[in-house]
Symmetry: C2
Subunit: 333 residues, 2 copies
């Protein structure tokens, strides 16, 4: 998208700050604004976990994405946040805003994508609402139940914990750059690159197992980019991080070599990649690895120094900036 408006000046964070301030909190609120999910107390030991994330056509649907893929992605974005907290979705709702030029085939595709994703992650979509809108809108709300003391929040990281991720980064951003900046189409580049964009996956199984292991001290999903996610954990936990290694996908490396991008930059400052970014208690690394069947990559350690996030590379400390995929202000959209 091009053009500026007052909303871009304010930014997504500005909007969220206003909402947080005005809406406040309540005695029933267990987790409010500022984490991947919200939660409300239900009796002594349980919380109702709530999540909503809206997909908007003009900003979240890249060129070439079908309606079925867009609907799938809308669900995945919500599931990924539940995964990061270790909560299994029990049921979901879908509110739709549909442009008048959509065909019956489009609506069928959209419903197929919703069904595919709900099946994949094992919960029913039990109701919804349909509207006409100028911009395709798929707003999902998910619900789950958790024991209050089992939710893995952003705020639990402690100095000395290990920072770890569930996958290699960069494919989504590389694919988006290929599509939007290099004007490439999927047949021109390797399939895995575009699968990251057109058929993203949430790490629900991994998230549930990691949370159940009790080894995590904090967790977030990487949908706003790796750098942003690291900073969010640091801000909520009032710590810093020293990252020794940024795992980059082979598809992203190949793209960067061909089109001359810096792969580390691309992997750090991307977005819409649904890995989990976690911190693990230092004495629980092995049980975390067992829970993740080896799919957990240690990338650094939690340090002192509020929100100081550095990448140690070639004997030098480079600052990892708090930037990424913020809506409204993003230059890549």
């Amino acid at each position: 998208m091009t053009g500026l408006g007052p909303l871009r000046e304010l930014g997504e964070l500005g909007v969220i700050r206003i909402l947080e301030r005005k809406l406040g909190t309540s005695p029933r609120t267990a987790v409010g604004f500022g984490d991947d999910i919200s939660a409300v107390k239900m009796g002594q030991r349980r919380v109702l976990v709530l999540k909503t994330d809206m997909l908007v056509g003009s900003t979240d649907v890249p060129p070439g994405m079908t309606m079925r893929q867009a609907a799938w992605k809308a669900v995945v974005a919500n599931v990924s946040d539940m995964a990061a907290k270790g909560v299994k979705p029990v049921a979901g709702l879908v509110a739709l805003g549909l442009p008048v030029d959509l065909t019956k085939g489009d609506v069928n595709g959209l419903a197929d994508g919703l069904r595919d994703a709900a099946r994949e992650y094992g919960f029913p979509l039990v109701g919804g609402d349909t509207n006409e809108s100028k911009d395709l809108t798929i707003s999902i709300a998910l619900f789950g139940i958790a024991k209050s003391n089992q939710l893995v929040l952003r705020s639990g990281a402690r100095v000395g914990d290990v920072v770890a991720v569930t996958g290699a980064f960069g494919s989504t951003t590389a694919a988006l750059k290929a599509l939007i900046e290099e004007k490439k189409r999927p047949n021109r580049l390797a399939r895995p690159l575009f699968d990251a964009v057109y058929k993203p996956r949430a790490q629900l199984d991994l998230g549930l197992k990691l949370a159940a292991s009790g080894a995590l001290s904090s967790s977030i999903d990487s949908s706003d980019g790796l750098a942003w996610s690291l900073h969010e954990l640091c801000k909520a936990s009032r710590v810093g991080m020293r990252i020794g290694h940024v795992p980059i996908s082979s598809a992203a490396l190949k793209f960067c070599a061909e089109f001359d991008y810096d792969p580390t930059e691309l992997a750090l400052y991307g977005g819409e990649e649904y890995h989990l970014v976690v911190t693990v208690k230092p004495d629980r690394i092995k049980s975390a690895q067992r829970a993740a069947s080896g799919k957990l990559l240690a990338i650094g350690t939690v340090t002192q120094g509020l929100s100081r996030v550095v990448l140690r590379q070639a004997r030098r400390d480079l600052t990892i900036e708090r930037k990424g995929w913020e809506h409204f202000k993003s230059s890549t959209r």
Copy 2:
């Protein structure tokens, strides 16, 4: 809105039919598509009640409505559906799609409206999501808990039950016609008329008391118009209705006299009025009236004859048609 598109051919009901068919149902579903709310089983006797309704700027925000009023309306539309089922909202989420030309003042107004409505109806909005969109979008999701056997569904009306409503109709439609078709502005017409549009109210207190009385056999809110609501109850309950009297607000009567509209037509085939339309067991009329502190108006009786809804007027039976405020196909927008 003007212009046609394939989506208008399909209509809102067509979209819902596709979603229902594709998404199916699950063993956990207590109430799926086709009622005011959805519900999921939680243990033996309780259900988690879920509701989502999306407000879209281009179709749901009439001329002259402020951001604060739009946000209030978005919440009220959701609360009204919970009210119709007799369920108190426990908490809510809000997903926003915001046009880039919104100012900080607009966002503050929007947050004020959300806060006002959440306070009015006594629940916290505990989280949300913000996005950029071409069309203002306020998607609310609400959650409540109910005993499975206390939910007042659309499907419980029986022959001989009394049909009743919680208010007089027509103000909202009259005000919308005044604004859109007659190009009048609020200062030209009586305040109550425009309050119906700019500051609608959900009948939550009344809905909770009526449901608790145990006197209702079915219930729906009138947000799609009185005629539509009556037909929905009839379809779900497999009955007909004979209506003896359509209560019309004095503000609507005055508007109809001045601008030459048929008041009964206007009251029947309107929409966005948040009264409750219920059926009462014939031996429980008094306890229903007591519960409603006299605010329940009997308007007819439940009859045999699937979906035959008639208005008995001047010794003649007039058919009340199944039409109203359907999105996509509505000619008044």
